[in-house]
Symmetry: C2
Subunit: 130 residues, 2 copies
Protein backbone atom coordinates (compact mmCIF):
# COMPACT_ATOMS: atom_id res chain seq x y z
CA UNK A 1 0.00 0.00 0.00
CA UNK A 2 1.25 3.43 -0.95
CA UNK A 3 1.28 5.98 1.87
CA UNK A 4 0.22 9.05 -0.05
CA UNK A 5 -0.41 12.61 1.13
CA UNK A 6 -4.13 11.92 1.34
CA UNK A 7 -3.79 8.70 3.29
CA UNK A 8 -1.32 10.29 5.64
CA UNK A 9 -3.81 13.08 6.29
CA UNK A 10 -6.60 10.59 7.02
CA UNK A 11 -4.37 8.60 9.30
CA UNK A 12 -3.14 11.63 11.19
CA UNK A 13 -6.69 12.85 11.69
CA UNK A 14 -7.79 9.52 13.13
CA UNK A 15 -4.67 8.97 15.19
CA UNK A 16 -4.69 12.41 16.74
CA UNK A 17 -8.17 11.99 18.14
CA UNK A 18 -10.10 9.50 20.16
CA UNK A 19 -13.18 9.84 18.01
CA UNK A 20 -14.91 7.46 15.66
CA UNK A 21 -14.93 8.89 12.14
CA UNK A 22 -17.06 8.19 9.12
CA UNK A 23 -16.05 9.05 5.54
CA UNK A 24 -18.16 12.20 5.34
CA UNK A 25 -16.76 13.48 8.62
CA UNK A 26 -13.21 12.95 7.42
CA UNK A 27 -13.81 14.91 4.23
CA UNK A 28 -15.33 17.81 6.18
CA UNK A 29 -12.58 17.86 8.76
CA UNK A 30 -9.82 17.79 6.14
CA UNK A 31 -11.50 20.43 4.00
CA UNK A 32 -11.82 22.61 7.08
CA UNK A 33 -8.05 22.26 7.50
CA UNK A 34 -7.51 23.38 3.93
CA UNK A 35 -6.71 19.87 2.76
CA UNK A 36 -8.85 19.06 -0.29
CA UNK A 37 -9.73 15.40 -0.78
CA UNK A 38 -12.35 13.50 -2.76
CA UNK A 39 -14.87 11.32 -0.98
CA UNK A 40 -13.94 8.32 -3.15
CA UNK A 41 -10.33 8.72 -2.11
CA UNK A 42 -11.39 8.67 1.52
CA UNK A 43 -13.39 5.47 1.06
CA UNK A 44 -10.54 3.81 -0.82
CA UNK A 45 -7.98 5.11 1.66
CA UNK A 46 -9.94 3.84 4.65
CA UNK A 47 -10.22 0.41 3.04
CA UNK A 48 -6.51 0.30 2.46
CA UNK A 49 -5.68 1.55 5.95
CA UNK A 50 -8.03 -0.98 7.48
CA UNK A 51 -6.41 -3.83 5.58
CA UNK A 52 -3.02 -2.58 6.65
CA UNK A 53 -4.40 -2.60 10.19
CA UNK A 54 -3.57 1.04 10.66
CA UNK A 55 -7.16 1.84 11.55
CA UNK A 56 -10.02 -0.20 12.97
CA UNK A 57 -13.55 -0.31 11.56
CA UNK A 58 -16.80 -0.31 13.47
CA UNK A 59 -20.29 -0.56 12.00
CA UNK A 60 -22.68 1.93 13.55
CA UNK A 61 -26.22 2.22 12.34
CA UNK A 62 -25.40 0.79 8.95
CA UNK A 63 -22.51 3.20 8.48
CA UNK A 64 -18.84 2.38 8.82
CA UNK A 65 -16.82 4.33 11.38
CA UNK A 66 -13.08 4.18 11.93
CA UNK A 67 -10.87 4.64 14.93
CA UNK A 68 -7.21 4.34 15.83
CA UNK A 69 -5.79 0.84 15.63
CA UNK A 70 -3.07 1.49 18.18
CA UNK A 71 -5.43 0.89 21.06
CA UNK A 72 -5.99 -2.32 22.91
CA UNK A 73 -8.97 -4.33 21.74
CA UNK A 74 -12.23 -3.11 23.19
CA UNK A 75 -15.99 -3.23 22.70
CA UNK A 76 -18.54 -0.41 22.70
CA UNK A 77 -21.42 1.15 24.55
CA UNK A 78 -23.51 3.39 22.29
CA UNK A 79 -25.99 5.87 23.66
CA UNK A 80 -29.14 5.81 21.56
CA UNK A 81 -30.03 9.26 22.80
CA UNK A 82 -26.93 11.39 22.22
CA UNK A 83 -24.84 9.05 20.07
CA UNK A 84 -21.92 9.02 22.48
CA UNK A 85 -19.63 6.03 22.15
CA UNK A 86 -17.91 4.65 25.23
CA UNK A 87 -15.44 1.80 25.28
CA UNK A 88 -14.94 -1.12 27.57
CA UNK A 89 -13.05 -4.36 27.68
CA UNK A 90 -13.72 -7.47 29.68
CA UNK A 91 -11.20 -10.26 29.84
CA UNK A 92 -13.86 -12.56 31.21
CA UNK A 93 -16.22 -11.98 28.31
CA UNK A 94 -13.41 -12.54 25.84
CA UNK A 95 -12.54 -15.79 27.53
CA UNK A 96 -16.13 -16.99 27.52
CA UNK A 97 -16.41 -16.17 23.84
CA UNK A 98 -13.36 -18.26 23.13
CA UNK A 99 -14.78 -21.16 25.12
CA UNK A 100 -18.01 -21.03 23.17
CA UNK A 101 -16.18 -20.92 19.87
CA UNK A 102 -13.86 -23.77 20.79
CA UNK A 103 -16.77 -25.93 21.88
CA UNK A 104 -18.25 -25.53 18.40
CA UNK A 105 -14.98 -25.76 16.48
CA UNK A 106 -15.59 -22.27 15.23
CA UNK A 107 -12.40 -20.34 14.45
CA UNK A 108 -13.04 -16.76 15.49
CA UNK A 109 -11.22 -14.14 13.47
CA UNK A 110 -12.81 -11.17 15.21
CA UNK A 111 -15.92 -10.17 17.07
CA UNK A 112 -18.12 -7.21 17.81
CA UNK A 113 -19.99 -6.60 21.02
CA UNK A 114 -22.05 -3.47 21.37
CA UNK A 115 -24.37 -2.47 24.16
CA UNK A 116 -27.06 0.02 23.15
CA UNK A 117 -28.91 2.16 25.64
CA UNK A 118 -28.74 5.41 27.50
CA UNK A 119 -25.52 6.83 28.87
CA UNK A 120 -25.09 8.24 32.35
CA UNK A 121 -25.15 11.83 31.15
CA UNK A 122 -28.47 11.38 29.29
CA UNK A 123 -29.99 9.44 32.17
CA UNK A 124 -29.21 12.14 34.70
CA UNK A 125 -30.52 14.82 32.36
CA UNK A 126 -33.82 12.90 32.28
CA UNK A 127 -34.05 12.69 36.02
CA UNK A 128 -33.45 16.41 36.37
CA UNK A 129 -36.26 17.10 33.92
CA UNK A 130 -38.88 14.94 35.63
Amino acid sequence: MRLTQQRTAILRLINQSDRHWDAEGIVSALNRDGQRIGIATVYRGLQALEQAELVTALQIDGRKHYERADKAHHDHLICLHCGAIEEFCSEEIEKLQQQIAVARSFAVSHHALTLYGRCQRCSSRDEARS
Copy 2:
Protein backbone atom coordinates in the same frame (compact mmCIF):
# COMPACT_ATOMS: atom_id res chain seq x y z
CA MET B 1 -50.89 -2.34 13.23
CA ARG B 2 -53.07 -3.96 10.60
CA LEU B 3 -52.37 -7.64 9.97
CA THR B 4 -52.84 -7.77 6.22
CA GLN B 5 -52.43 -10.65 3.76
CA GLN B 6 -48.95 -9.48 2.90
CA ARG B 7 -47.80 -9.10 6.48
CA THR B 8 -49.26 -12.46 7.36
CA ALA B 9 -47.33 -14.02 4.50
CA ILE B 10 -44.07 -12.39 5.65
CA LEU B 11 -44.66 -13.48 9.21
CA ARG B 12 -45.52 -17.06 8.26
CA LEU B 13 -42.42 -17.28 6.09
CA ILE B 14 -40.17 -16.12 8.92
CA ASN B 15 -41.91 -18.13 11.61
CA GLN B 16 -41.91 -21.37 9.67
CA SER B 17 -38.16 -21.34 9.23
CA ASP B 18 -35.09 -20.92 11.34
CA ARG B 19 -33.41 -18.75 8.78
CA HIS B 20 -32.42 -15.11 8.80
CA TRP B 21 -34.21 -13.29 6.02
CA ASP B 22 -33.50 -10.03 4.24
CA ALA B 23 -36.09 -8.04 2.29
CA GLU B 24 -34.94 -9.26 -1.11
CA GLY B 25 -35.01 -12.88 0.02
CA ILE B 26 -38.55 -12.52 1.31
CA VAL B 27 -39.78 -11.10 -1.98
CA SER B 28 -38.15 -13.94 -3.91
CA ALA B 29 -39.48 -16.62 -1.59
CA LEU B 30 -43.01 -15.25 -1.68
CA ASN B 31 -42.97 -14.79 -5.43
CA ARG B 32 -41.78 -18.37 -5.78
CA ASP B 33 -44.84 -19.40 -3.77
CA GLY B 34 -47.09 -17.49 -6.16
CA GLN B 35 -47.61 -14.68 -3.64
CA ARG B 36 -46.90 -11.35 -5.37
CA ILE B 37 -45.61 -8.59 -3.10
CA GLY B 38 -43.79 -5.30 -3.65
CA ILE B 39 -40.39 -4.73 -2.12
CA ALA B 40 -41.57 -1.51 -0.45
CA THR B 41 -44.37 -3.41 1.21
CA VAL B 42 -41.85 -5.87 2.56
CA TYR B 43 -39.67 -3.13 4.00
CA ARG B 44 -42.67 -1.41 5.56
CA GLY B 45 -44.10 -4.68 6.78
CA LEU B 46 -40.84 -5.73 8.39
CA GLN B 47 -40.60 -2.40 10.17
CA ALA B 48 -44.11 -2.78 11.52
CA LEU B 49 -43.56 -6.40 12.55
CA GLU B 50 -40.32 -5.49 14.28
CA GLN B 51 -42.01 -2.72 16.26
CA ALA B 52 -44.78 -5.12 17.19
CA GLU B 53 -42.01 -7.47 18.34
CA LEU B 54 -43.27 -10.20 16.06
CA VAL B 55 -39.88 -10.49 14.40
CA THR B 56 -36.34 -9.67 15.49
CA ALA B 57 -33.84 -7.68 13.46
CA LEU B 58 -30.15 -8.34 13.03
CA GLN B 59 -27.67 -6.25 11.07
CA ILE B 60 -25.41 -8.38 8.89
CA ASP B 61 -22.86 -6.84 6.60
CA GLY B 62 -24.72 -3.54 6.42
CA ARG B 63 -27.99 -5.25 5.56
CA LYS B 64 -30.90 -5.89 7.91
CA HIS B 65 -31.96 -9.50 8.43
CA TYR B 66 -34.97 -10.74 10.33
CA GLU B 67 -35.72 -13.86 12.32
CA ARG B 68 -38.49 -15.24 14.47
CA ALA B 69 -39.13 -13.34 17.69
CA ASP B 70 -40.50 -16.35 19.53
CA LYS B 71 -37.06 -17.62 20.37
CA ALA B 72 -35.09 -16.98 23.50
CA HIS B 73 -32.53 -14.20 23.27
CA HIS B 74 -29.31 -15.30 21.64
CA ASP B 75 -26.20 -14.00 19.92
CA HIS B 76 -24.58 -15.07 16.67
CA LEU B 77 -21.60 -16.76 15.09
CA ILE B 78 -21.22 -15.86 11.42
CA CYS B 79 -19.01 -17.82 9.07
CA LEU B 80 -17.12 -15.42 6.83
CA HIS B 81 -16.58 -18.21 4.33
CA CYS B 82 -20.02 -19.71 3.71
CA GLY B 83 -22.24 -17.16 5.42
CA ALA B 84 -23.79 -19.68 7.79
CA ILE B 85 -25.26 -18.20 10.94
CA GLU B 86 -25.15 -20.15 14.18
CA GLU B 87 -26.66 -19.08 17.44
CA PHE B 88 -25.50 -19.25 21.01
CA CYS B 89 -26.38 -17.85 24.36
CA SER B 90 -24.27 -17.44 27.44
CA GLU B 91 -25.81 -16.48 30.74
CA GLU B 92 -22.38 -15.60 32.05
CA ILE B 93 -21.65 -13.17 29.25
CA GLU B 94 -25.05 -11.53 29.71
CA LYS B 95 -24.36 -11.14 33.41
CA LEU B 96 -20.94 -9.62 32.82
CA GLN B 97 -22.43 -7.17 30.35
CA GLN B 98 -24.94 -6.08 32.95
CA GLN B 99 -22.20 -5.62 35.51
CA ILE B 100 -20.21 -3.46 33.12
CA ALA B 101 -23.24 -1.35 32.30
CA VAL B 102 -24.25 -0.91 35.92
CA ALA B 103 -20.73 0.14 36.87
CA ARG B 104 -20.99 2.95 34.32
CA SER B 105 -24.61 3.86 34.99
CA PHE B 106 -25.40 2.92 31.42
CA ALA B 107 -28.97 1.70 30.92
CA VAL B 108 -28.77 -1.09 28.33
CA SER B 109 -31.81 -1.46 26.12
CA HIS B 110 -30.36 -4.20 23.96
CA HIS B 111 -27.07 -5.53 22.74
CA ALA B 112 -25.48 -7.35 19.85
CA LEU B 113 -22.63 -9.80 20.08
CA THR B 114 -21.38 -11.45 16.95
CA LEU B 115 -18.37 -13.68 16.49
CA TYR B 116 -16.99 -13.74 12.94
CA GLY B 117 -14.79 -16.52 11.66
CA ARG B 118 -14.86 -19.91 10.05
CA CYS B 119 -17.42 -22.54 10.94
CA GLN B 120 -16.63 -26.16 11.65
CA ARG B 121 -17.89 -27.30 8.25
CA CYS B 122 -15.68 -24.85 6.36
CA SER B 123 -12.68 -25.61 8.55
CA SER B 124 -12.89 -29.34 7.94
CA ARG B 125 -13.35 -28.78 4.22
CA ASP B 126 -10.07 -26.83 4.27
CA GLU B 127 -8.21 -29.57 6.08
CA ALA B 128 -9.43 -32.15 3.60
CA ARG B 129 -8.19 -30.03 0.72
CA SER B 130 -4.66 -29.51 2.07
